[in-house]
Symmetry: C2
Subunit: 203 residues, 2 copies
DNA sequence: TTATTTATGTACGAAACAGTACAAAATGCA
DNA sequence: TGCATTTTGTACTGTTTCGTACATAAATAA
């Protein structure tokens, strides 16, 4: 499996993962339409033809960037949500992990690549579908986690709680982009988690 | 005041309000960066030089569109929030009015001009400031309305409730753009209102 | 060494774009 | 009727942008 059959021609000299990370950060900061291929070329250090060969056209790059960003979220934040323990701390810690990503790029509050920039480009059907899938995935993850802590809650309440939990995260992206300080959102996340638990316990 | 002193030169032949409405719809559907002046020219029926004279450059048009959109929200939805009665129905009806705007343009779910497209263009400082102001305004309106129904609630709870109420609306825009059906969001709004009231009553 | 295969960047062409100069059109005023 | 004033669209400039053709570079295979 890990055999390297030594390929034939000139070996690639580009760091594909690092380039993709630069692509993610650029789209995250400026959105889809405002980024030109020259911008991407500058940010990655790859020539425009190399970009095409590696990632296809601009839309493909954007979609790939969303995949990469999603993988980072999956790896960094989702484990906090799934950890054992009470729902309130799990949610709070999940939000904090997401905020660490949203505020990752020191100076600018880059926010969420998906929830922050995809809605503005949802006239492209591929983007719209991807956004829908991401939201659905988030709702499902929230619902599953809630059921785990409150197995006897009725379905309507569970759905409402899950959606509120999702909505909080989506709003975080907009708030981060607007320049809201990270600490403020962290408190907001804890309060939101508290409210969700109150709702679930109360019924 | 309403005197028309009959101006001197050639009278304007353009309907400035209708043109602005077309500008709003275009930016709402495609975001800031993806719209070209030729698109705006086609949509409004105004020539490019006329657009410059009437509204300035593209960024000015976008800012003016956000003002116009905000005025529509102020006129159509905010009264529902401020109406007398219990908080739950006031919130639910406010959400429904906002959804009517978000889904206004029959075919496409245009969502919110501010929360849907501004985050993706927040690297422009003017847009970022405008987004921040809009969110702050929404939070304040929610807080005021909540205090009116729950004057004795403690401040921390009020803030949390207000932010949840705001977050719900912001998430609506993203969900609408993703293609979520309007009815689904209407139910979500009612459930969110219910949760907020539960939180306030419970403490 | 020579041929083959793969990767890379320079350089090109076509299209889209923003912004403006300028002349024509439409009104009031004398 | 002519003059001043304001609006309007055509036409033009320089720039940006996308996408690709093509020649060069770096490796393996024979």
């Amino acid at each position: 499996m890990s055999e390297a059959p030594r390929k034939r021609g000139r070996p690639p000299s580009i760091d594909s993962a690092a380039a993709m990370q630069a692509v993610v950060e650029l789209f995250r900061a400026k959105g889809f339409a405002a980024v030109s291929l020259d911008d991407l070329s500058d940010a990655t250090g790859l020539s425009r033809p190399s970009l095409y060969r590696s990632f296809g056209d601009k839309l493909s790059m954007y979609m790939a960037a969303m995949d990469a960003f999603g993988a980072q979220v999956e790896q960094a934040a989702v484990p906090a949500l799934l950890r054992e323990g009470d729902l309130k701390t799990a949610l709070s810690e999940f939000y904090d992990e997401m905020l660490a990503i949203y505020y990752r790029d020191d100076s600018i509050a880059a926010g969420c690549l998906v929830y922050g920039t995809a809605p503005g480009s949802a006239d492209l059907s591929a983007v719209k579908s991807r956004l829908f899938a991401s939201i659905e995935q988030l709702d499902d993850a929230m619902r599953d986690r809630i059921v785990r802590s409150f197995p006897d809650a009725e379905e309507g309440i569970i759905n409402a709680a899950a959606q509120i939990a999702s909505n909080t995260l989506m709003a975080f992206s907009a708030r981060a982009k607007s320049g809201a300080p990270k600490d403020e959102l962290s408190v907001m996340g804890a309060q939101s988690a508290h409210a969700i638990c109150t709702l679930l316990e109360d019924t």
